[in-house]
Amino acid sequence: MNLAAMQGLLPLLVLGLGAAVLMLQISIRRQLGWSYAITVATLLLGAAAMEPAMQVAPLQVTPLLRVDNLGLFFGSLFCLSGAVTAVISRDYLRSREGENEEYFLLLLLSTLGAVILAYSTHVAALLLGLELLSVALYALIAYPERGTLPLEAAIKYLVLSGAASATLLFGFALIYAALGSLEYAEIAVQISAGRAATSPALILMGAAMVFAGLGFKLSVVPFHMWTPDVYEGAPAPISGFLAGVSKGAVFIAVLRWFLESGFFQYSSLLAGITLLSIASILVGNLLALLQTNVKRILAYSSIAHLGYLLIVLVAAGVSPEPGLAVEAGGYYVVAYVITTLAAFSLLGLISRQSGDREYDQLSDLAGLFWKQPGLAALFTVALLSLAGIPLTAGFIGKFYLISAGVDAALWGLLAALVIGSAIGIFYYLRIIYTMTTVGEQANPGTTADMLVGSRLVVYLLIFAMLYLGIVPEPLMGYLRTIL
């Protein structure tokens, strides 16, 4: 490994070094403030390390990872999202005593896993990144020391995620048996060389199993059962990380896997993805209507959003020029990650002094507009963005998706998207309506004691969602150059 490779891997090196330093700090002296500062500094540095790394991109570093603009851009997005989660967690953990230093260490490791996923061009890197992301998340979900809900959520996630990883591995094994390679590019070469023709069933079965395993992480219907329970049980900032970063990273990995290993030529696979997409959109949105717990509503809404995102895969596979679809996917992931983080940040922030339980019932939000207008504004913008109302990031993302779908003439998927969005508006607006009512509420409701970092993050998130919705051109142009 030479100096250029080191420079390309700088974001990963920064994160790894940060984790080592943080571990030493915890072992020498437990101090939450220091752990927090090291974590945020590491994550911001990791995001900034994209700049020097970009100078050597594109560069293949060992068969496992490739440093290119796509990976670097999303890697730094995940680093920044990790930093946002850390800041919100600091406020959230203040009233929850116990040994909280490891929380930040696990968060750092989990983010490292997400960044590795964005870089991976080899099955081994994909698996290791995925496992690093998930193993750290198991512990983070179960982190709160009191209450059984987090433990239940963590065990659910652990068992189902283990089964999904096994499915994924088996799929890769079948593909390896048929093609004899684990590198994406090499797989593509083998498929186009016609080696796939000798055992098409094996490859198709393998690809389907791989997609099922990854579909679990993306919580696509019918692999979605765990989502609402896990989001409800996990601490709110971690639910946000799980919904935003974990899903975003896995989606980027799936996108890379499909684009680079040439599986788009299997039309039956695309048909399967189409079905899963439609099912996710309809099931996610319809079940969200029945919930009274805000975290569960957001969980079902994230299922629906991943259904929208799958349109990108189908569009990229069907149309001869996948550029527009990939661009739309990139934009949507950015918008989705920011919006999801914003929505769960609010839940984390209003629950910062709630003791053992979190304020996640719809009724807990009643009157929020009058008591904590800043936070209510954040949540309103986030919900409008999730619903896809103009002037927010979500609107542009959806617009982009629709244009990619029209370009590829996917009318069935577009119909599902329109119906799903229409249903979605109802339950998003219901939350906003609840926030405006004046009612009895348990929430003590004051923003006076919020930490400066959290305030800053709230403003930043509002700004990002509105900026991407009003002036989308810079990001669009940027994505066009890197994809």
Binding site: M1, T62, L106, A125, L128, E131, A136, A139
Partner: protein, 169 residues
């Protein structure tokens, strides 16, 4: 010849797994699971991957399974537990596992002394495994170390929680 040994080991692995799944007693299930792992190790060996075979035995059949057995046995302390243990480990329980293990032993002896070559045609020596791991797959080793760190820290935190609780009660 090599192939028939391989399929025989596969048959042993399959039988042991099915038996392990259908046992109602956890200790008996574990014994069959160990046999199944040993059979998989023999399959690895016959395919030409002696290093993977050794790891399978050391890590899975050795470390992990012994830990399992210890935990199960530790849950049954006291006089009644001893009685139950003796009942679980009655001689007739051992007949089938011993037979299966004997098949594997004979296969191993044959493979080492009588026959040369592998079913896949290539032999991957431990040296090659090491060179690959610390050559092109160096980063995988590094990432795996981070993965272990995450697992360790997570296990520490969750374990502490249950220790605290047992102290309180």
């Amino acid at each position: 010849m090599m192939e028939s040994l391989f399929y025989m080991a596969g048959f042993v692995a399959f039988t042991a797994t099915v038996l392990s799944l259908s046992r109602t007693n956890a200790t008996h299930a574990l014994i069959y699971l160990i046999i199944s792992l040993l059979a998989v190790a023999v399959m690895f060996y016959l395919m030409g991957a002696p290093f993977a075979a050794a790891l399978e035995i050391v890590v899975y059949a050795g470390a992990i399974m012994v830990l399992f057995v210890f935990v199960i046995m530790m849950l049954n302390l006291g006089q009644a537990g001893e009685q139950r243990e003796r009942q679980w480990l009655a001689p007739r329980i051992w007949i089938v596992p011993t037979l299966l293990a004997l098949i594997l032993l004979v296969e191993m002896a044959l493979a080492i002394t009588q026959i040369s070559g592998t079913t896949s045609g290539v032999e991957v020596t431990p040296k090659e495994v090491g060179l690959t791991l610390f050559g092109p797959y160096l980063l995988a080793v590094e990432i795996a170390s981070m993965l272990l760190l995450a697992g360790l820290v997570g296990a520490y935190h969750l374990g502490r929680r249950s220790i605290d609780r047992s102290r309180q009660s």
